[in-house]
């Protein structure tokens, strides 16, 4: 249910707008962090990697702002119905975004190491493709949030399957490399963690999309989200 009507207390509307604006700002920074971390991996750009690490502070700061705004809203406005769901979803989405930012920062850290050793085949390009997919999912998840579009959110959840499959493929590839070429183990371990980070980003984007469905419909998504990461069971 969309609520285009205004609150009688107009300050309440302004507060809700402010908190959502902060979510969008945070989302923008996180999208950029995903893109830049993957780019710095492929282009072996140390400066860019350092920038990703530095920029994470702004993401963390925004999460704090959002948490504080949400706490104030709950205390002062006692939100109900769609307003309550909005505040609850904002808290979770901010948490998800913060985690994604951390994964991007961790990728950037590993990049500063990887830059000093020879590349492993075209794995950096594969990882960048995977990151692009997640970045696109995040963009759509944030769009679905602002537009209150539960269908688009459901589509994002579905797309996480592809990310999981990309991760499965990379996992096998890195195993093979390491078996064939023990000198690549250090690189491959880092690359594998990067792949896992991106896969986890996809899970957090999925969680954001689930919040959108809850916000819009008042119900949690009915089906358990697709879990196509099979590597935990790989022998």
């Amino acid at each position: 249910m969309t609520m285009s009507e205004q609150h009688i207390a107009s300050a309440f509307d302004r507060e809700l707008e402010s908190i959502q604006a902060h979510i969008m700002k945070m989302g923008g920074l996180v999208e950029a962090a995903i893109g830049a971390s993957a780019a710095s991996l492929e282009t072996r750009d140390e400066e860019l990697a350092l920038k990703v690490r530095a920029d994470d502070k702004a993401i963390d700061a925004l999460e704090e702002v959002i948490d504080e705004e949400a706490a104030r809203l709950i205390a002062l406005r006692a939100p109900t119905a769609i307003d309550l769901r909005l505040v609850l979803s904002v808290l979770k989405v901010a948490g998800n975004l913060e985690r994604i930012g951390d994964y991007a920062k961790n990728i950037a850290k590993r990049n500063t190491v990887l830059i000093t050793v020879p590349p492993v085949n075209d794995s950096a390009a594969s990882l960048r493709r995977m990151a692009r997919e997640v970045e696109g999912m995040l963009k759509d998840a944030l769009d679905s949030y602002i537009q209150r579009d539960a269908e688009l959110a459901a589509d994002v959840i579905e797309r996480d399957r592809e990310v999981d499959q990309m991760y499965n493929a990379l996992f096998r590839e890195f195993l093979t490399f390491m078996a064939e070429e023990p000198r690549s183990i250090t690189s491959c371990m880092h690359l594998h963690f990067i792949a896992k980070n991106i896969e986890r980003m996809g899970d957090h984007v999925t969680s954001i999309a689930e919040q959108v469905i809850y916000l819009v419909t008042g119900a949690r998504p009915d089906e358990a989200r697709p879990k196509a990461d099979k590597t935990s069971l790989t022998v």
């Binding site: 249910m1 609520m3 009507e5 205004q6 609150h7 009688i8 207390a9 309440f12 006692a78 939100p79 109900t80 119905a81 769609i82 307003d83 309550l84 769901r85 008042g218 119900a219 949690r220």
Partner: protein, 265 residues
């Protein structure tokens, strides 16, 4: 959502104490209540919410025939208390109101002693055989009204000398003295400060162990705090009726949503 643990909030029984069907109320030419159908559960607090003039108080007053006292008011439809039609010609409204007690917005103790305020109902309904029994009823009622400890040493003092919150709890004690089965409360806390309000709300929660409580309130937070079921009235219609947690997190009707979130609807 549905498996949310609500240990504190468990609605005791699915059993209906009051069943209202197709209730219509006219005040002269005004159609105040339009086709209301609702089941009021036993041992449950049911809150009626809605904007002024929506019909919630009018409907509440149908439940113990308080509207009979208004000449231009006509009530149609069926209201059953434990399966018996309360508008049946054989039903004595005075007896009915002993079973379906009422507490009003403004505390209205009789200009009598605290004791006599509570003893009044049991006396006219002949509930006590002697003074000792009456004493017992008065004490029990004042205890249920959560005011015994504050007044036990001055039962002969006038009820009107108590503070607002105490007067309201005295009125609740008076209402429960006739051993009602249903307690109707019309804005019982709107004249009380937050402490007295909290005390009355705590009392309402205790009363529901024993009675079916129906409360009309303009405070949505109060409805959310004290009730297990909430009914939203708008322009004489019962728009939505459901579990209170559901009404306040995920109302199904846009009019309910607009009202409880404080939007112009």
């Amino acid at each position: 959502m549905n498996d949310m643990a609500r240990v504190e909030r468990v609605v005791d029984t699915g059993q209906a104490k009051i069943t209202a069907s197709d209730v219509q109320v006219h005040y002269g030419d005004t159609h105040a209540i339009k086709d209301v159908n609702v089941n009021i559960g036993d041992k449950t607090v049911t809150a009626f919410i809605g904007p002024s003039g929506c019909g919630k108080s009018t409907f509440l007053r149908c439940l113990n025939r308080m509207n009979d006292t208004i000449d231009v008011c006509r009530v149609k439809g069926n209201i059953l208390l434990d399966g018996e039609d309360i508008y049946d010609k054989r039903v004595d409204p005075v007896q009915l109101r002993a079973k379906v007690g009422m507490v009003f917005q403004k505390p209205n103790p009789f200009p009598k002693s605290i004791y006599d305020n509570v003893a009044y109902g049991p006396r006219i309904h002949g509930l006590a055989k002697n003074k000792a029994e009456l004493d017992e009823i008065v004490e029990k009622s004042l205890r249920r009204g959560a005011i015994w400890n504050e007044v036990k040493d001055r039962l002969d003092a006038p009820g009107t000398g108590l503070s607002g919150g105490q007067q309201q709890r005295l009125c609740i004690a008076r209402a429960v003295a006739t051993e009602p089965e249903v307690l109707l409360m019309d804005e019982p806390c709107s004249a009380l400060d937050p402490i007295a309000t909290a005390q009355v709300e705590e009392l309402i929660d205790e009363l529901r162990q024993r009675y079916s409580v129906v409360i009309v309130t303009h405070s949505m937070q109060q409805a959310a705090r004290v009730s297990q079921k909430t009914a939203f009235f708008h322009l004489g219609n019962l728009v939505e009726f459901g579990e209170t947690g559901q009404i306040f997190t995920n109302p199904q009707d846009p009019r309910t949503e607009s009202y409880i979130t404080g939007r112009i609807g």
